[in-house]
Amino acid sequence: MSENKVLQKKATREAFGDEIVRLGGLNKDIYVVDIDIGKSCKTTEFANKFPKQHVNVGIAEQNGAGLAAGLATTGKIPFVSTYAVFGSLRMAEQIRQEICYPNLNVKIACSHGGLTPANDGASHQAIEDMGVLRTIPNMTVVMGADYHSTRKLVAQAAEKYGPVYLRFTRDTMPFIYDENEEFTIGEAKKLKDGNDIAIIANGDTVFLALEAAKQLESKGISVKLLDIHTIKPLDRDAVVECVKIGKIITVEDHNIINGLGSAVSEVVAEEGRGKVRRIGVQDQFGQSAPYEKLLELNGITIENIVNTAQEMLL
């Protein structure tokens, strides 16, 4: 972890754009299936460098998903690239029928996750995507916290056989990890170890959770902080370690229904002890507004994480 790089910021969609170019050069079976918005999803360089590995189906998500499935039957590794709201919901049944049911090696790589397409308004803010896709058998659901972790996770997704949903941010996010940090899909990353309270975050909220943890530590509270970039398969052992502490806060840029908070709560309930407070989108649609304002409207803030922790410790 690099304490000195927190001021450096980059959108994780840039990480996808950069990594997919690297991967496309290494493996000619890596394809990108664009759905018109390649410029925004950062696949333009890939398209220019590897035209034979690139397809653009136009504004037709359902066909993009099915076409990718057809490519995968021949041994290609297609990354279908679009916005998270379309890549999860508009093509949900195609993902289920033609990708997950036959367990084909297709990746759904989506920018504009969560509230990050803030100015675009509710139509473009994906708050249900990870929840919808984690209920489909064979699907893996991943969101990196920053540029470097996202690059590593994209590379892992390419290597791992089977359907993977990758979610990126539209907006820039502070760097949290060094470029040498290694990540494994399905394994939580422990950012801090402590024993008073556990905070579990993913994606663009990891940075907020990290700042909150620092504030709590300055108040003498010992915090265990996990970046659970993979909500499915969930790192159950890592969550069980948090259950031992007994007090868990989840933080996510996603509806609190069926996202990270729900996934963690399922484990906690099965363990039969411990208490969870879920911080995330409060089952309400967003609107056009600055990203920070939308987070604030949902209590996804450093301040609320700190206050929630202190309340739980009363």
């Binding site: 359902q62 076409l67 990718a68 057809g70 039957t73 021949t74 029928q97």
Partner: protein, 277 residues
Amino acid sequence: MSGNIIEELKQNAVDLRKTALTMIHKAQSGHPGGSFSAADIIAALYFKEMNIDPKNPNWEDRDRFVLSKGHVCPIQYSALALRGFVDYETIYTLRQFGSPFQGHPDMKKCPGIDISTGSLGQGLSCAVGMALAGKRDEKDYRVFAMLGDGECQEGQIWEAAQSAVKYELDNLVIFVDDNGLQIDGTTEEIMPNQDLELKFKAFGFETTRIDGHSMEEIVAALDNVRSSKNNKPTCIVCNTVKGKGVSFMEHSVTWHGIAPNDEEYQNALAELEGGLK
């Protein structure tokens, strides 16, 4: 084309219909109507046109077949059994627990199925992906897809069609089984398709309309596709009759998705025996 081959294909179609009927009767579940409207095209593809190897169903240079109207899989399973992809006796496990012959085709369970289908409107996109990969890899294989006319009401069919034209997939051949019926009634009543041949032509396909129960016309159409490559995908719209070959099933919405009882089965089998009238 020698008359012998046409006669053999006609007999293959009889065998396909009888096998599919028996599967559906034994399972007491399945879709005879659409299986029979597609039977003659399936016979021509599996017994003549497609370059496939029953001993090596995943051979990477094989021709592919996508049954986008997945519910008529009994007719495809019959072809796979009669061509030796699967043991003939096992196909009577259709729709039973643990069977490779699922109610809709499952590529992971049944050898010879190139893509799992069953949700209408989706298969053509997969066929386009397969054909595009073949082009990019400079392979000679072709991809055949069979669509129902009812499923052409799905918007995704037309998304897929435009991409097949954009990528100049002259290794893609679509059959539309234009039998005019869907579950709730005729396509004219439920949602008129207008002229499907004109629609595909407008999208940029090479098109033709044939009698989908004339083996001579099916074989001639396929010969024609093979001999002319012009960077366009082909769509062969086939005038067909749902339930074709069994008088009481023909033109009947009722026989879309029900199984015959013992008496109906015997009567149907006797009618099929003699081939199409």
